[in-house]
């Protein structure tokens, strides 16, 4: 398809990046080679000045300075700027979001997948997961390509094309790992898989094929034989024969020669995917066919047509004949697979290393040195999984690839554990890095949570450190973060988030919000403080704000004594408002006698009793009235150890009024109670 053509001129990038980095293993991160550390230039900074810096959760601040200069007024008038530096560039590429989002789903599926599935079905499952990852890469590549052709900005176009070739290289490597490690194809099927791999990824010649096939008369096209060769080199026999048949019908005189070649190509034994033939059977057939080809070559059947003679030599696996077609193969790994197809079709996995090395040597011929992509593929052919991952970490600009591939290989039970100094393994190390990168993005961080969840050793502590740094810009966002923490019983983070929100609300004088956040935080001290603010506001304004909240405190009222009082006091007002006076009176009294109300508030409470004392109906019983009186006396009598009662005019008047009202109430209630008892 068209995707193929653009897709996979893969790895030139990595090859171009050149052997500079090759061989410097053990880099600690994407793009981090040992002697070739990526240098980021901070524009405008003056030489010989130093840089001061600060870490943020997602960014680093950098600014020019001079260290070690004491005193004032030494610096030049400063035009200095503060630079915001980000670490993980790929995270911010819009078109890669699909890669991050969709691979997250596959990753989660893999974590949940049934480890119990045994043998073949487990392997089939893992191969499917691998294919799913690759199809996400390809879809992303397609989008990136569309973006590249639809933009007119050459710089942007360049960036997109870069991404296309990087994605393409990733898919190339992944596909090979899938064949060799995940599927672990055995001798026979192995070759078929490698052929598919080459056909899928060696696309530099596809345009040539299209040009020839779409021409009016392909067999007269100057590139006709090139295309036939391409098909033969890729083992696409049916297509090669189809083309040849056109040429044959145009040349009746050499019909016989064409027929013989066609027959040889038709009869070529190939490994089968099913169990219909054994390797021994295949090798026997192969030997027989090989001898037949040899005979035709030696008796000069094709001598009159150098093209056909060369094809016959290729069928015989003649290295020189194949190497002559170097331009049509473009890469050493294509050469390797062609060579295997025509010389060692039953190659065993462990023999690949030998053929791969010699194919690379023969193909490069000492003219150029292997480049990072070559080294990565070579490591794969050598079954050096760890090396593949290390090299990819060095060369690739993001952690996505190594993290997901390593996780898959680990699920295939292929990784020896490489112990970190703190005991975690390579899989976890890479997943932690990837997820940390996600956390530097304002929305992708939510994917990061799930990755941390699947890092048994350090996932939780990383999540704790990262999640508490998510900006709590709105209540909604805070609730989202909070839910994640609550689901994981991250009590300290829950408390801290609620506390931050409570503080923020309080600073903005949103008392209701502040109170509900501190209840969530179970922060008794803060709840007390806010309750006091509510009560103070009430005393000043004579009404409560946030009635809904206070009316529905429920058991959370018990968080602090003051909050309990606030809730109960508001209940008193509600009862009073509903004219349920006896209940209101009983509650009011309890607030004092049970010492729920702070002493500082007793005067207010007693004043609140005034209208109840002056109702037509008698409300306070004699006993209750006595208690009210005792409360008033407790409050007004000078008491060693407690603050002296404020003895100003207003207060004195209030006390006098209360005493009078209490006395009158007592008189009325004695009469009333006497009457009731008497009747």
């Amino acid at each position: 398809g068209p995707g193929r053509a653009r897709a996979a001129r893969a790895g030139r990038w990595v090859r171009r990046r050149a052997g500079r980095d090759a061989g410097r293993m053990g880099g600690a991160g994407p793009g981090a080679a040992d002697e070739h550390r990526p240098v980021t230039v901070v524009p405008g900074a003056v030489p010989r000045r130093q840089l001061c810096f600060a870490w943020g959760p997602a960014e680093v601040l950098v600014c020019e300075t001079l260290f070690g200069r004491a005193g004032t007024g030494e610096g030049a008038p400063s035009t200095s700027r503060v630079f915001v530096v980000r670490r993980d560039q790929d995270i911010y590429i819009q078109t890669l979001r699909k890669l991050f989002n969709e691979s997250h789903g596959i990753f989660m599926g893999l974590q949940r997948s049934e480890e119990e599935l045994a043998g073949k079905s487990r392997k089939a499952q893992l191969v499917q997961v691998s294919k799913n990852y690759r199809s996400v890469i390809r879809a992303c590549m397609e989008d990136m390509h569309q973006a590249a052709i639809s933009t007119r900005d050459p710089a942007l176009q360049g960036q997109y094309s870069t991404q296309v070739s990087i994605l393409s290289a990733m898919e190339l490597i992944w596909n090979l790992c899938e064949i060799l490690f995940v599927e672990a194809a055995a001798a026979g099927p192995l070759l078929l898989r490698l052929l598919d791999w080459v056909r899928l990824h060696v696309c530099d010649v596809d345009s040539m094929v299209r040009e020839v096939l779409s021409s009016e008369n392909p067999s007269k096209h100057k590139l006709f034989w090139n295309v036939v060769d391409i098909f033969v080199l890729q083992g696409r026999m049916d297509e090669a024969r189809h083309l040849l048949s056109k040429e044959a019908s145009a040349n009746p005189t050499s019909m016989n020669m064409y027929k013989i070649l066609d027959d040889l190509m038709k009869k070529m034994p190939v490994p089968s995917l099913g169990n219909t033939q054994t390797l021994t059977e295949l090798e026997l057939k192969w030997q027989h066919w090989h001898e037949e080809c040899q005979r035709y070559l030696q008796d000069g059947t094709f001598a009159s047509n150098p093209h056909m003679e060369s094809i016959c030599k290729i069928l015989l696996g003649d290295e020189d004949a194949i190497l002559e077609k170097k331009e049509l193969m473009t890469t050493w790994y294509h050469f390797l697979v062609t060579r295997l197809l025509y010389s060692h079709p039953t190659v065993k996995p462990m023999e690949l290393r030998f053929y791969a090395q010699s194919s690379m040597d023969l193909f490069l011929g000492g003219e150029s040195s292997p480049e990072p992509l070559d080294m990565i593929l070579m490591a794969a052919f050598e079954f050096e999984m760890h090396q593949v991952i290390k090299e990819c970490s060095i060369v690739l600009s993001n952690w996505w690839f190594v993290a997901h591939l390593t996780d898959l290989l680990d699920h295939c039970k292929l990784l020896q554990s490489h112990n970190l100094y703190f005991g975690s393994n390579m899989r976890e190390f890479l997943l932690l890095e990837y997820a940390s990168g996600l956390f530097s993005h304002h929305s992708l961080w939510q994917l990061g949570v799930d990755y941390f969840d699947h890092c048994p050793q350090y996932g939780r502590v990383y999540l704790e450190l990262h999640i508490e740094r998510i900006p709590l810009s709105t209540e909604q966002k805070a609730l989202k973060v909070l839910r994640i923490c609550e689901q994981r019983q991250m009590h300290e983070q829950v408390r801290s988030i609620c506390k931050i929100m409570a503080m923020k609300a309080l600073r903005n004088n949103r008392l209701g919000s502040a109170l509900s956040w501190s209840i969530r935080a179970k922060d008794a001290a803060f709840a007390t403080l806010i309750s006091d603010r509510f009560l103070k506001d009430y005393c000043e304004r004579g009404c409560f704000s946030d009635l809904d909240l206070i009316d529905n405190l429920g058991p959370s009222m018990l968080l602090s004594d003051r909050l309990t009082f606030l809730g109960k006091y508001r209940e008193f007002h509600r009862l009073y408002g509903e004219k349920r006076f006896p209940e209101a009176a009983r509650l009011l009294l309890t607030l004092m006698t049970a010492h729920i109300a702070p002493c500082s508030f007793w005067m207010t409470l007693l004043t609140d009793a005034l209208p109840l004392l002056e109702q037509k109906e008698v409300i306070f019983s004699a006993e209750q009235t006595y208690e009210l009186m005792r409360c008033l006396e407790d409050l007004t009598s000078p008491n060693p150890g407690s603050a002296p009662f404020q003895d100003d005019d207003v207060e004195t008047t209030k006390v006098e009024m209360l005493r009078l009202a209490l006395a009158r109430n007592l008189a009325r209630v004695i009469v009333k109670e006497g009457t009731v008892e008497g009747s």
Partner: protein, 360 residues
């Protein structure tokens, strides 16, 4: 790494420190122009200066944010021998309209008789506390017992370090197994072989800080020091900026039980040492997970250090000034992504190769 934005700081003199708040949405800068500026990040990612005020009567060395649980609080320290605590007041509507906020001085800490060289808030689990250190060799620890009243700070501890102090770092571990701990660095440059890093630990019994360790191998002036986030480890990691970058591990040994209450003894190892700055190193600081250390030196570079999964510390990135001034007054927004990108060489080579290819 890549430079995503640049902000004209507009200080009238040298900037000495920049500081991110806890969430990375605000930053503060301080300068020899005796002022502090606060910057806020808007929804679209632009940074705006929302406050700028004179804080001291001398160069302001350091500015740092308290944890947001305590509100919006800054501390600064200065050549004028004081440290100060500032709180943002939710502004009058006028201020809000102009996008400005108002900061008030809550306290001035005047106990030092020399330049106050560093100020750091304690880990939040200890409450609202801060430590200062000064050129006269004293570390002072202050506490605000009532977090709603930042005008009352009491001097809780005075630790005499004998040597001129340049930097302090609290151990961030909140584990019950670890007592509060503070490391102090000295930039004393008289020729002596005294340890320039001392570690003080709080003793529950005596209610005092006492010297638990000294890094005897660090005898050159120390300019900065930083404990790594703990990650639940039993041991501590400490980075030191001296004539090179050094990373130490401190493994607590069994507490010695004495009548005065045991001080922790440590097994100290140096796990990495880098002289790549080729000269004095002035700042060291850890990222939030303590997995990457950044250092800044006389070579004008910020270098990032990271251990891989085989405990191999490597430089993973370098930030470097290019020495050419930027034109324009307030250039903001995304720089050309290839400028200053970690992948510059990669992208160049790619663009080159894709251009030379025929498009199919």
């Amino acid at each position: 790494m890549f430079v995503a934005r640049s902000i004209a700081a507009d200080h009238r003199d040298l900037i000495h420190d920049v500081s991110f708040d806890f969430h990375g949405r605000r930053m503060a800068t301080c300068s020899s122009d005796q002022s502090v500026k606060v910057w806020d990040k808007s929804e679209n990612g632009d940074w705006h200066c929302t406050a700028s005020w004179k804080t001291h009567s001398g160069s302001v060395w350091r500015v740092t944010w308290a944890h947001p649980e305590f509100g919006q609080v800054l501390a600064s320290c200065s050549f004028d021998r004081t440290a100060a605590v500032w709180e943002e007041i939710v502004g009058e509507s006028n201020d809000k309209l102009r996008g400005q906020s108002h900061w008030v001085k809550r306290t001035t800490l005047v106990d030092s008789r020399t330049s106050v060289t560093d100020v750091k808030f304690a880990p939040k689990h200890m409450g609202l506390m801060l430590a200062t250190c000064s050129a006269d060799g004293v570390v002072r620890i202050y506490e605000a017992p009532d977090v709603m009243n930042l005008s009352q700070w009491s001097l809780q501890h005075e630790i005499s370090c004998k040597l001129s102090c340049s930097c302090i770092s609290w151990n961030p571990s909140s584990s019950r197994a670890h007592s509060p701990m503070i490391a102090v660095g000295s930039d004393d440059n008289s020729p002596n072989i005294l340890a320039k890093v001392q570690i003080y630990e709080y003793n529950e019994n005596t209610r005092k800080y006492a010297k638990a360790e000294a890094l005897m191998t660090v005898t050159d002036p120390v300019h900065d020091i930083a404990f790594a986030p703990n990650l639940g480890r039993s041991f501590h990691i400490l980075a030191v900026a001296t004539k090179d970058v050094r990373i130490f591990t401190l493994k607590p040994l069994r507490k010695e039980v004495t009548s005065s209450g045991g001080l922790t003894k440590f097994e100290i190892h140096i796990v990495a040492q880098f002289d790549n700055h080729n000269s004095q190193v002035w700042r060291v600081s850890w990222n939030i997970t303590g997995t990457v250390l950044a250092s800044s030196g006389d070579d004008g570079c910020v270098r990032l250090w990271k251990a891989n999964y085989m405990d191999n510390w490597k430089c993973t990135g370098i930030l470097k000034g290019n020495g050419s001034p930027v034109n324009g007054s307030s250039q903001q927004g995304i720089f050309n992504a290839s400028l200053g990108s970690a992948n510059t060489s990669l992208q160049n080579s790619l663009n080159g190769s894709s251009a030379s290819r025929k498009q199919s």
